[in-house]
């Protein structure tokens, strides 16, 4: 059953920060969790440049985050990040379920994300020295909502891409896809 939204909000386009590349970091600093790294284009976003600079000196802070799903596009989910300290900065990430579901899944499994500045084509392994910000994303009850959106959307994708795929078959494929994705996102590195 489609989950009902708990509240409706409008997110200004200017708040969205484009994700241009990604990766994941795991190991002792993150307690073994495989934490996704979002490489974002902050060209023209001086507030994010300042946040990265300040974070290098003041690593503790307070963040309020909120997951959301688009009422217009069933292929999109959002994550708004509202830094309350050490700087007041608000921005949002937009994820396409078709292509970026693994990032959402990894954030939900690790309850965290990193972000750093970069450009399209950047590789995390070649930019390990770049400053990045670690953000805890606590459980907000979004997991079952995400499960619904991911399986529904991927079932539709399978129906579109596989000629003659029945609804039942596409749902089964989507379920398997989401379960596999969850398994990979739950990997821990010692």
């Amino acid at each position: 059953m489609k989950p009902k939204p708990t509240k409706r909000i409008q997110i200004a386009r200017a708040l969205f920060v484009p994700i241009v590349a990604d990766g994941a970091l795991g190991g002792p600093p993150s307690d073994g969790r495989l934490v996704p790294v979002l490489i974002v284009d902050i060209d023209g976003r001086s507030e994010l440049k300042e946040l990265l600079r300040v974070h290098a000196h003041e690593q503790l802070g307070a963040v309020v985050s909120q997951w959301g799903a688009s009422s217009d596009d069933p292929n999109q989910v959002f994550l708004t990040i509202d830094f309350e300290s050490p700087m007041t900065v608000c921005f949002a990430f937009k994820f396409d379920i078709d292509t970026q579901a693994i990032l959402v899944e990894m954030i939900l499994r690790s309850r965290a994300l990193y972000f750093q500045a970069g450009s399209t084509g950047d590789l995390l392994s070649e930019t390990l020295e770049e400053p990045r910000v670690f953000v805890e994303i606590p459980d907000m009850g979004f997991d079952p909502v995400w499960d619904h959106f991911a399986t529904t959307r991927m079932a539709r994708v399978f129906r579109q891409r596989i000629v003659g795929c029945s609804k039942a078959k596409s749902r089964e494929l989507a379920r398997r896809f989401v379960d596999d994705m969850r398994h990979h996102a739950s990997l821990r590195l010692g």
Binding site: S46, E47, E50, H57, E58, E84, S85, P86, M87, T88
Partner: protein, 124 residues
């Protein structure tokens, strides 16, 4: 007050917070907001209050703001809020304003400008 060895600025400010309502309320957070201009935009540092003096000079009285702080109805808190600002955070930035912000248990925020001497110089 600047601790040159640790390269930080300690800010101690005297505050009086009144609760004019009948019911008690609780302050859950005090922050120092430092606004500055950089790269064509205004940015705001938001630093939490400390419970220990960040500089060698302690506040003149022992009443230090510690959150959460409950204030009974028609009562007030008078004491000190303390903050620490690393030089690295604001170095090279032109500070526009310092403000204190308090958040209560109902999510209501109150902001007030921090009164301070912007500059002191020897008269020759």
């Amino acid at each position: 007050m600047v601790d040159s060895e640790k390269e930080h600025i300690g800010i101690l400010t005297s505050v009086t917070i009144t609760n004019r309502a009948d019911a008690a309320n609780t302050l859950v957070r005090a922050r120092l907001l430092i606004s500055y201009a950089w790269d064509g935009a205004i940015h705001v540092l938001a630093l939490p209050s400390l419970t220990k003096s960040p500089v060698a000079l302690p506040p003149p009285r022992e009443d230090v703001f510690v959150s959460p702080a409950r204030i009974e109805g028609h009562d007030a808190f008078t004491g000190w809020c303390m903050f620490e600002v690393s030089e690295a955070l604001v170095g090279g930035r032109l500070i526009d304003s310092y403000e204190l912000q308090f958040d209560d248990a109902h999510g209501v925020s109150v902001t007030c400008p921090l009164g301070y001497l912007r500059d002191v110089a020897h008269e020759t």
